[in-house]
C-alpha cells in the first residue's frame, strides 16, 4: 500500500492512539503508528516532534526522561487524563467523518 499524506489533524489522533496502550519515546511512537496503520503512515521526525511538543503543551501528553530497551536515555510520552478524554472525542469525531465520507462515496 502506498504511503499516504497525513490529513491535517490526523497525526494528533494517531499519536494519541499510539500512546493509548502505554508510554513510548519518539521513535517508539513513530514505529507504533507505522505498525497500527499497516505501514500506511511513516511519520518523519520533522512532523513528529513539533506535534509531540504541541500536544504536551496542550496538556494531553506528559513526558519524563527514562531509559530505553537499548539502555539509551529517552524522553517517554504518556497520555494524561485530559489526553485520554481528547482521544475519545477525536475518535468519535473521526468516526462520524469517515462514516459520512463512506456514505458519500457509496451513493
Amino acid at each position: 500500500m502506498a504511503r499516504m499524506d497525513l490529513l491535517h489533524g490526523t497525526l494528533d489522533l494517531l499519536i494519541l492512539r499510539a500512546l493509548a496502550t502505554g508510554e513510548r519515546h519518539g521513535l517508539g511512537i513513530a514505529r507504533r503508528i507505522h505498525q497500527i496503520t499497516g505501514g500506511a503512515f511513516d511519520v518523519k521526525p520533522g512532523s513528529l516532534f513539533p506535534a509531540l511538543h504541541r500536544l504536551e503543551e496542550q496538556g494531553w501528553l506528559a513526558s519524563a526522561w527514562g531509559e530505553s530497551e537499548n539502555k539509551r536515555r529517552a524522553n517517554f510520552y504518556r497520555l494524561t487524563t485530559a489526553g485520554r478524554r481528547q482521544l475519545g472525542r477525536e475518535t468519535a469525531a473521526w468516526e462520524r467523518l469517515s462514516l459520512a465520507m463512506a456514505r458519500a462515496l457509496e451513493s
Binding site: 521526525p45 520533522g46 516532534f49 506535534a51 511538543h53 504541541r54 503543551e57 537499548n70 539509551r72
Partner: protein
C-alpha cells in the same frame, strides 16, 4: 489547556537553557536509537549512523520547527533575534558605538527641543478646568492701528461681575509697578489682584492664606509673595508667614505664598510680579483709569459662541452709558490661547529649531541606514550561508531588522540620557526674558509627555533606518546563496547605488544646515558690527526723582534740574553731561502728518538739553544744535534723524520744514539733522522718525547722560553720591551704562542663542555626514581591493587609483550639495524675518557652506584614499 500552555511558556522563560538542552537531547536520542535499529539489521556502525542522520534530515531544522509551535513562539523568536543581534553588535563595537551615538545625539537634540516646545506651546495650563478660563480683550470697530490695543479699565469690572448668565466668576489683576524692598534694597515688581483670583483659577497658596475681601476693603497692610521670592528671600522658611517687609513706604505683613503656577497665563504689562497686594482697596487704590486684566470662568457648558453673543449685549449696554468711549467689541479669549498670543513671536524660530533638529535626526537615520547596509554587505557570507541552510527571506529580514531595532532602542536610551544631562544647560542658555515668555506653565523637564515623544521618535527611527537595508541585504543574501557563495555583481551595484543616494541625502541636509547656520552667523556679524550712531564707550545715564512737594511748579523743577546738571558736570571723572535719556532706549511713536508731505510718519520724541548730541557722540549732519535761542517764548524747533528725514522728504532738505506735533505745539520747525541712532529694538523695522525736541520748550526731564573719562561704574557712583549730597530731596533711581537696554532687552543674546543652537546642529549634521562618507568610501575601497590590486599590477599609477576613489566620493557629494543648495535657497526665504542686515540669499553663507562641506568631504576621504593607494597587488589578490 490554556493554563498548561502558559505554564510551559513560563517554564521555558525561566529556564531557557534547560528547555533547549532537553530538546537537543531528545532529537539526538531519536537519531541514536534509529542508528541502533539499523545496526541491528546488520549495517556497520558508521553506515548506520550515516543513514540515521540522513533519515533525520538535520537536527537544527527539527528543533526550529518544534520552537515554532511552542506557546509564545513569536515572543521567543523576537527575544532570540534581539539577543542574537545584541551579541552580533557586541562583536563589532566600533560599528555599534558609531550607530548608537549617532542616533542618540540625533534623537537627544529632538527630545530637548521638543521638551522646550511642549512647555512653551502645548502643555495645558496648570489650572482647574483650564478650558473654561477666559481672558477678556477688546476689539474695536473699526480696527485701530495694528498693535494698538484698547485696554480694560477698573470701572468695568463691577459690570462684568453682574453678568451671571455668562460667567461663574470674574476677577481682575494689575501691576502696580516696581517698589524698593527696603530691608534688602532690591527692586520688587508688585502686582495686585482681587481676592477671588486664586480660587477662580483653582490655585491654592503653598503656605499661608489669601487675603480676604474685608482685608482688601479696609486696606489691611498684608501682602502675598511668589514662590520664587519665598525661596530667594526666605529660603522657604515657614516663619516667612507673619514676617514684615517694607515695600516703598508701605510696611506689610506676609500672609501667604503663591505657587509659581499662579502667575502663568496672564502675563502682566510691566513685568512679572513677585509680590501681590489686594487690588481695589485703599492699599492698591484702583482708579477708573487703572489698566486691568480680567480673568473669567465661563458658566459650565456654555459655548464660547453663545458667551460671545451675551457679552456683546453687556458691552452694548456699557457703551450707551459712556458714549465718549471708542466703540469696542468684547473678545473672550480662552486663557490658553492668550498664552499663545504671548509666545506667537516665538512660533517661527521654535519651529525652525525643531525642523533643524529633525533634519539632524534625518542625517543620523540615513547614516545608520547606510552603516547597516554596509554591514549587511560585510555579513554577506554569513547571510548567504543562513539562506543556503534554509532560512527564509522573512527570517533573514527579521534577523537584520533586529539589529536595526536594537541599535535604535539603545540609541533612544542614549538620547534620553543625553537629554537628561543637557536639558538644563539648554534651558539656562535661553535668554532670561525669553524664558519668562516661554515657560508659563513650568520649566521644561523630562516628563511622561517627553518620554512618550522619545519612544515614538525612536520607533520611527528604527523603522526608517532598519527596514530598507534589511530588505535589500536579505534579497542580496538569497541571490548570493543561489549564485554559489560569490558576490553577484548586479546586487552589489544596486546596493552601492542605494548607499550613494543615501550619502547624497546626508550631504544635502548637512549643506542645508551649514548654509542656514552661515546665514545666521553673517546676520549676527552684521548685527554686532552695526554702527549704533552714538559713542557708547564710557557713556552712562542717571535717572532721579524730584519730590513733587518740594518742587511743585515747572519752573522750580527746571531750575533744580539745571543746578543738578551743573553739579554732575563738576563731579571729577565726568567729561560731559547733558539732559536726556539713553539713546539706546526706544520710545513710543506718535503719528503725525508733517506739513508739505502726504505721508503719515511715526515720530518717536525725545526731549534733550543743550549738549546732548555732543555728549552722546551723535553726529550733527546738517543745520544747528539747540541753543540758548530756543526758549519757551521762541518758535518751537526740532531736530530729526537722517533716515527719518530721507523717508519723509526724500532728497530735499528737511531744514525749515514744519510739522504739527501736538495740539499744544501747532507748528514745529526742523532746524537740524543728526545721524540715525539704533535703539535696542533696531533689528525690527519700526520706520520711526527719531525726533528731538528741546527741554526748554517741553516738560522737565529727570534723566542725564554723561561721559566718564575712565571708569564708568566708579564715576556713576560718585555722581550718585554727589547729587544726593547736593540736594537731599533728589533721589537717584538708576545709574547705568547707556548700553544697558541692549542687555536687558536681549538685543544681541536672542539672535546669538539661535545662532549657537543652529551652529551646533549644523556641526552635528556635518560630522555625521562626514563619518557616513568616510564609512562609504572605506567600504568601497575595501570591496574593490582586488580590482585596485589588479589595476596596480597592470600599471595604474597612484594618481589613477586616487582618482578612482575620488570619483566614488565626488558623485554623492556634488549631488548632495546641489540638492542641499536648492533646499537652502528655498528655506532661506522662510527664515528671512529672523535675519538682520542681510538678504536670505546672501552669497557669503552659501559659499561658506559649500567650502565647509568640501573640506569635510576631503577629510572624510583622506584615510580611504591613503588605504587605496597603499594596496599591495600581491596581498590584494591573495585575499579571499
Amino acid at each position: 489547556m490554556l493554563m498548561s500552555r502558559w505554564r510551559a511558556f513560563l517554564r521555558r522563560l525561566l529556564a531557557p537553557a534547560r528547555a533547549e538542552r532537553d530538546l537537543d537531547a531528545e532529537v539526538r536520542s531519536y537519531a541514536a536509537m534509529l542508528a541502533d535499529e539499523l545496526e541491528a539489521t546488520g549495517a556497520s556502525p558508521e553506515e548506520a549512523g550515516r543513514r540515521a542522520r540522513l533519515a533525520l534530515g538535520g537536527v537544527e531544522p527539527i528543533k526550529e520547527s518544534v520552537r515554532d509551535v511552542r506557546a509564545g513562539a513569536p515572543l521567543e523568536q523576537i527575544w532570540r533575534d534581539v539577543t542574537h543581534a545584541a551579541r552580533g553588535l557586541s562583536r563589532s563595537p566600533g560599528f555599534a558605538a558609531t550607530a548608537i551615538l549617532t542616533i542618540g545625539l540625533g534623537i537627544g537634540v529632538n527630545i530637548s527641543i521638543f521638551s522646550v516646545i511642549d512647555t512653551t506651546f502645548l502643555k495645558p495650563l496648570p489650572y482647574e478646568r483650564p478650558h473654561e478660563l477666559i481672558r477678556l480683550g477688546h476689539g474695536t470697530t473699526p480696527r485701530p492701528e495694528p498693535g494698538v490695543s484698547v485696554e480694560l479699565r477698573w470701572d468695568e469690572v463691577a459690570e462684568w461681575r453682574e453678568a451671571h448668565d455668562i460667567f461663574q466668576g470674574v476677577e481682575a489683576s494689575a501691576v502696580v509697578r516696581t517698589r524698593i524692598w527696603r530691608e534688602r534694597g532690591e527692586p520688587i515688581v508688585l502686582g495686585g489682584f482681587t481676592p477671588g483670583m486664586p480660587a477662580l483659577l483653582g490655585v491654592t497658596p503653598i503656605a499661608g492664606r489669601v487675603f480676604t475681601p474685608a482685608e482688601v476693603r479696609d486696606g489691611s497692610p498684608v501682602v502675598m509673595i511668589a514662590e520664587e521670592l519665598w525661596a530667594r528671600g526666605f529660603d522657604r522658611r515657614p516663619d516667612a508667614i507673619g514676617a514684615r517687609m517694607t515695600l516703598g513706604d508701605q510696611r506689610l505683613t506676609i500672609i501667604g505664598v503663591l505657587p509659581t503656577t499662579f502667575r502663568y497665563g496672564f502675563r502682566l504689562p510691566g513685568g512679572q510680579p513677585v509680590a501681590w497686594s489686594g487690588l481695589g482697596g485703599p492699599l492698591q487704590p484702583a482708579s477708573t483709569n487703572t489698566t486691568v486684566i480680567l480673568i473669567m470662568r465661563l458658566r459650565s457648558g456654555l459655548s464660547l459662541e453663545s458667551a460671545h453673543e451675551r457679552a456683546a449685549v453687556v458691552a452694548a449696554r456699557m457703551q450707551q452709558a459712556r458714549p465718549e468711549k471708542v466703540p469696542w467689541m468684547p473678545v473672550l479669549m480662552p486663557l490658553d490661547r492668550a498664552r499663545h498670543g504671548v509666545v506667537s513671536d516665538l512660533q517661527m524660530p521654535m519651529s525652525m529649531l525643531l525642523a533643524t533638529a529633525g533634519l539632524v535626526l534625518l542625517v543620523a537615520c540615513v547614516n545608520v541606514a547606510n552603516l547597516l547596509l554596509t554591514r549587511g554587505a560585510s555579513r554577506g557570507r554569513e547571510l548567504a550561508l543562513r539562506a543556503a541552510l534554509g532560512a527564509s527571506r522573512a527570517r533573514l529580514i527579521r534577523l537584520l531588522l533586529a539589529e536595526g531595532v536594537v541599535v535604535a532602542a539603545l540609541g533612544g536610551l542614549a538620547a534620553v540620557l543625553f537629554a537628561a544631562v543637557t536639558l538644563e544647560a539648554l534651558v539656562a542658555f535661553i535668554p532670561a526674558r525669553m524664558q519668562v515668555w516661554m515657560f508659563q506653565v513650568g520649566m521644561p523637564e523630562l516628563d511622561g509627555r517627553v518620554l512618550a515623544f522619545a519612544l515614538s521618535v525612536t520607533s520611527v527611527v528604527a523603522l526608517l533606518s532598519a527596514t530598507w537595508p534589511a530588505m535589500s541585504s536579505a534579497r542580496t543574501a538569497l541571490r548570493t546563496s543561489i549564485g554559489g557563495g560569490h558576490q553577484v555583481a548586479g546586487t552589489t551595484r544596486e546596493r552601492r547605488r542605494l548607499s550613494r543616494v543615501l550619502q547624497a541625502l546626508q550631504v544635502g541636509v548637512a549643506f542645508l544646515l551649514a548654509t542656514t547656520a552661515g546665514l545666521f552667523a553673517t546676520s549676527f556679524a552684521t548685527l554686532v558690527t552695526t554702527d549704533l550712531g552714538f559713542d557708547s564707550r564710557g557713556l552712562g545715564v542717571i535717572g532721579f526723582s524730584l519730590p513733587q512737594g518740594r518742587y511743585p511748579s515747572g519752573e522750580s523743577r527746571q531750575f533744580a534740574i539745571a543746578r543738578a546738571l551743573d553739579r554732575v558736570r563738576a563731579t571729577p571723572g565726568v567729561v560731559q553731561a547733558a539732559i536726556g535719556s539713553t539713546p539706546a532706549s526706544s520710545l513710543y511713536g506718535d503719528m503725525v502728518r508733517p506739513g508739505g508731505t502726504e505721508k503719515i510718519a511715526t515720530l518717536s520724541v525725545r526731549f534733550v538739553g543743550p549738549g546732548y548730541f555732543e555728549t552722546a557722540g551723535i553726529r550733527l549732519i546738517a543745520g544747528r544744535d539747540f541753543g540758548p535761542e530756543d526758549h519757551p517764548g521762541s518758535p518751537s524747533v526740532a531736530i530729526i534723524d537722517d533716515d527719518g528725514a530721507r523717508r519723509l522728504f526724500g532728497d530735499e532738505s528737511p531744514l525749515g520744514r514744519r510739522f504739527s506735533y501736538t495740539k499744544a505745539i501747532p507748528e514745529t520747525t526742523i532746524i537740524g539733522v543728526v545721524a540715525p541712532v539704533k535703539a535696542w529694538n533696531f533689528t525690527r523695522p519700526l520706520n520711526r522718525v527719531e525726533t528731538y525736541l528741546p527741554v526748554s520748550q517741553g516738560s522737565p526731564q529727570t534723566s542725564f547722560i554723561l561721559r566718564a573719562e575712565h571708569n564708568l561704574a566708579a564715576t556713576l557712583a560718585s555722581v550718585r553720591a554727589s547729587l544726593e549730597v547736593h540736594d537731599p530731596a533728589i533721589r537717584v533711581t538708576s545709574a547705568l551704562a547707556a548700553t544697558e537696554p541692549y542687555d536687558t532687552m536681549e538685543t544681541y543674546t536672542t539672535p546669538r542663542f539661535y545662532l549657537v543652537l543652529l551652529s551646533m546642529f549644523a556641526v552635528l549634521a556635518l560630522v555625521t555626514a562626514s563619518v557616513g562618507l568616510y564609512g562609504l568610501l572605506a567600504h568601497a575601497v575595501g570591496q574593490r581591493r582586488r580590482e585596485i590590486g589588479v589595476r596596480v599590477a597592470l600599471g595604474s599609477t597612484p594618481r589613477q587609483v586616487r582618482s578612482l576613489v575620488i570619483r566614488e566620493a565626488l558623485a554623492p557629494v556634488l549631488a548632495g550639495i546641489a540638492a542641499g543648495g536648492l533646499a537652502a535657497w528655498w528655506t532661506a526665504g522662510l527664515i528671512a524675518s529672523l535675519l538682520y542686515g542681510i538678504g536670505p540669499h546672501d552669497p557669503r553663507a552659501f559659499v561658506a557652506g559649500a567650502i565647509t562641506l568640501t573640506v569635510a568631504a576631503v577629510f572624510a576621504a583622506f584615510v580611504p584614499l591613503r588605504r587605496a593607494t597603499g594596496v599591495d597587488p600581491i596581498v590584494a589578490l591573495r585575499a579571499d
